[in-house]
Symmetry: D2
């Protein structure tokens, strides 16, 4: 049985990655594409400024882009992947859910709403059942599920591994983020060549809140956020893809670097089609992971860590993930696979 | 009275900056240049691969480069600026000091030796008199003075301002460092284009030790290091000049962002020729400072900070300095000016 | 006598360079700034996203930005520098000229109009008197003078030197252009990092036509374009400032590389305030000129050439100029200085 | 039957690409790796600074690197791929050939020797039989076959297509070359960030001579070089992989852009395992091909062209190829496949 999928915001940087990942997907089939007003009505080939170093799949290239509205997509879509600007997402996603569509969204709106599951399947798959609460409260036939921000996803799996093994008390994180995280026109070349920008609007707060919700516990009724303190500082650097992060943790129990490495490497992945074989790859070489060399591991879906060092009361490490694959398009698709496995599609 | 200056390691990236800054200097005059064996005997124009976007000063271009040995430089040099690889510096600098030369060195060897002054004049000028202890112990007529690592200099002035006003207890710092910090051939283009490297050998330790020595107190006999805990993580990014750093501090007394800003802006500069008018420039715009836009402030000798935010028990901020100006060549020259003012030349 | 100057399009990349060059100018004084609707009414500090690594001059920062209309600027402006998008320039510049303003424009509209002087003062200062023809034909009290495209300016002085000495018959040119030539948001970072773009809309045609008009002769009534064949290919590369060009020429008379070098080095500059001391700097080192190292020569107003080689029937060379200084803002100001010297202000 | 292959210079940038391409190869098997003295004796994993964004194949990682000498490799190698610095290649390759090894070399030595086949299989496969002449003259049991320089390979297929259809008389070419073409440490980051270098030592001459040999005719005894005039200018830009070139041609017969496009698209590929399905991909979009977007077409083995325009007496176009795949490692492997098909292995 093939799951028919629509993509909202299909022409953007994440939309293009959704197409790249869904085109060869074993279970999902691209059945509808939408974009903003200017693009609607055009063939995808003409509507999108395609920036990925593969060619647009032929059948997708010839699809007609529709408007981003429940009326403009086929009724028989089984799932909708949304990668809209957050203001648009906030306005439009609930309309789709009301009409009965199940939406797996990468947009940043509603991520911390109490009745919206925010999931990274390998970390908190059980939160998906928050959908029952959501449907009760909102009266929807559809559902809205979110994946977190790309910079949050990068650090959460290794933090989850440490939390489970040693108890997480405090996190301080500095990010070196790629330009693709801001979308196709988000960072101009004059801003970033021979430069770095020590601020990404709203990003620090996202890391501080979303990580605590993801690491929280769901009791069937609500998610209790993790009470670790999280301080983040977010930087943009002249790199195309791949967010690199320096992380310091204070831990409840002492951990050697070797114990931490074991906890990370043994942290389980899932059997979902897009899950990596090994979720967290740990490097012994302290100069790794590096964005250009390591972002594409396991089709861009692995997390890589390195530089593990014991500190007073905790542990320091670096981590990396492909921000538009693991951190965005792949994250939404993984959530879609989780929804399918749990009978929500 | 003009002070006659020699430059050890004059062809390197920092050596070139020493020439750029000394050529128009009011008190110092370039009187000798040395480099490694291959370059010795050549005119500077031919020996150096000049990489600065101004032309080599004519008189310097025509100077003959000598070997890096006390025998090969004029006897009447009043000061020697050293920018040698640390292994060479460790071997050669003491030879110069024994021969009576006063050496202001940017090389990383000996920085944490108990009897070697490590100074940033605006922060700990009084440490310079450790020279007396050094001369007693080593029997030198000359003297060896060090400036810290470029990444350390960048954060120490704002940390000193906070320490004086609120008491510094803990520092966590993540750096985004420019390629020029590794010297002319230190980072290949294939390593760094579309990439970042989360490790710089030895750099974390330098930041953790040198900062505590700089912020320490000198009682006339020895320097007691500051007891703040310092954790550093150092990254190389595709930027030419200017180190940007994210800093988190735990403070003994609570400080608002406004109080911290005042403490930084009012932290005094000196009247030395190369001191900036204002030592620390504080930005309200959280997206500043940025390397390309802000590294050249006050001839590359100012420190810029921004993004000041209160945290639980402390304060978070970003800081920036030009790594080969304020962080290396300018730092050595400032130390030379301090030596001159204090009668050591 | 200070000349009161207005700047149309003052917030853009070239507008910022106009401010940088006019602020310390001996003859011109910034008396008015305009920008598009969104910026009008704001202080310049708030209206402009300043990208130059110096601070906005204090007095300019506090000026109020006006609308780009003859009604919205002071009556007593002596000259107007225009750096508008060409479609806006085409609509608005004639309105200013009709109202009696003398406009020195960098916008690409009208450059090849028969009655519009297109000048690079060191090359074809005599074309400025085409203003008389223009005033006759258009009935203007004001006047419209243009400088050419940045990529054209870069090659025209060395071509003029060769033409004068050896007779120019054919030009083939390939450009490597910096991102600032496209304006602040013209090239996104995702387009250009680890990439190059072999096409710049309209640029090839500008080089092919404007160069022939500049090298043409003015007989007091009209400009006869030079009849050399010019073929251009224009590329964008990941460089901030400075256009580098490979040029092949077929010449009427044979020229050795040494003779060509002499012709270039001896090609006269002018005594205008912004003219470089030497117009064309010739490098013997074939790896120069390079954008980062050589774009700032003589305050960004010199042309640098190198790699001169004899070919069958001609000569090959490379040339470089700072595209927003010599190639845009500085070019407009030089034209303003020429207008002043010739009594048009 | 598996062909046992050795790789000379296996740790370099091209050596790594050889491993990437040979590891999954249907006919060849990596049986020996050599490198310079420092690396000999180490496991490949430790000897190479691996820079490709895939992991080293496990079996290769564990191979021991040998010295680059006929004595140090197994006797039963069927083919040797050489990617040595040219001075080393000139000394060592003949030693292997004398010992009976067949060497497919990417090194630049000996490429224009009259009895050395220089081949791009899709263009001049018949030249391979120059081996017979070589064996006669040199008394070798082995053989030495060369592929051309990366910048030459990029333009030769489209030039061959035009030559066959319309007769090639003159070529002018300007290159924008990626840093990987200079090897792992060939271009430092300080040289190339925010910069371009208008000179690559020896490269212009290689393009001018090798292209004429490749397009020449082999009569069974000697290769008569094509008599087209070729002028080249070579530039290095801040791009990782992929050489982009602007080409102007004078043609014997007039050609429309459409006819030229047809000639290129219909130019035949071969059935060798590494040949692309279509050799030359022609873009209608004048802003393509671009290095980052188009270098990986057909596993990096296709040539992409675009911007076809008629000129007076000829045609202008742009072309692109992956310099370390199609332009180096892939080129040597294709030659190896040609040798196999022609019974030389």
């Amino acid at each position: 049985m093939t799951v028919r999928a629509g993509i909202l915001g299909a022409t953007g940087a994440v939309g293009q990655r959704l197409i790249q990942l869904l085109d060869p997907h074993p279970d999902f089939e691209i059945a509808a594409l939408t974009a903003s007003g200017d693009s609607a009505g055009k063939q995808y080939r003409d509507a999108a400024k395609w920036r990925i170093n593969m060619q647009i799949p032929d059948d997708v290239a010839e699809m007609t882009v529709g408007e981003t509205s429940p009326d403009a997509v086929p009724d028989d879509l089984d799932i909708i992947f949304s990668s809209l600007p957050s203001s648009v997402g906030a306005a439009v996603e609930p309309e789709f859910c009301e009409e009965g569509y199940v939406v797996s969204s990468n947009s940043s709106n509603a991520r911390t709403d109490p009745d919206v599951p925010l999931t990274v399947p390998e970390v908190n798959a059980d939160h998906i059942d928050l959908i029952e609460v959501q449907r009760d409260e909102r009266g929807w036939d559809g559902a809205l599920v979110k994946n977190p921000n790309c910079s949050t996803i990068t650090m959460v799996p290794p933090l989850a591994a440490l939390d489970e093994a040693f108890g997480l008390e405090r996190v301080t994180v500095s990010t070196l983020q790629a330009v693709s995280g801001a979308g196709y026109s988000g960072v101009t070349s004059m801003e970033i060549i021979d430069n770095a920008i020590p601020h990404i609007g709203g990003e620090e707060e996202k890391m501080e809140t979303e990580s605590r919700k993801l690491l929280g516990t769901f009791d069937g009724a609500e998610v209790s956020w993790h009470d670790a303190r999280v301080d983040a500082s977010c930087n943009r650097i002249p790199t195309l893809d791949g967010h690199l992060e320096n992380v310091w943790t204070d831990l409840a129990e002492s951990a050697t670097a070797a114990e931490a490495e074991a906890a990370m490497e043994e942290y389980p992945s899932l059997d979902l089609p897009s899950s990596p074989d090994q979720l967290i790859h740990v490097f012994d070489d302290p100069s790794r992971p590096q964005p250009r060399l390591d972002r594409d591991r396991e089709n861009g879906m692995a997390i890589a860590t390195g530089g593990l060092q014991e500190t007073e009361g905790g542990l320091q490490f670096n981590c990396l993930a492909h921000n538009t694959m693991r951190g965005a398009a792949g994250a939404s698709i993984l959530n879609g696979e989780l929804l399918l496995e749990n009978g929500y599609l």
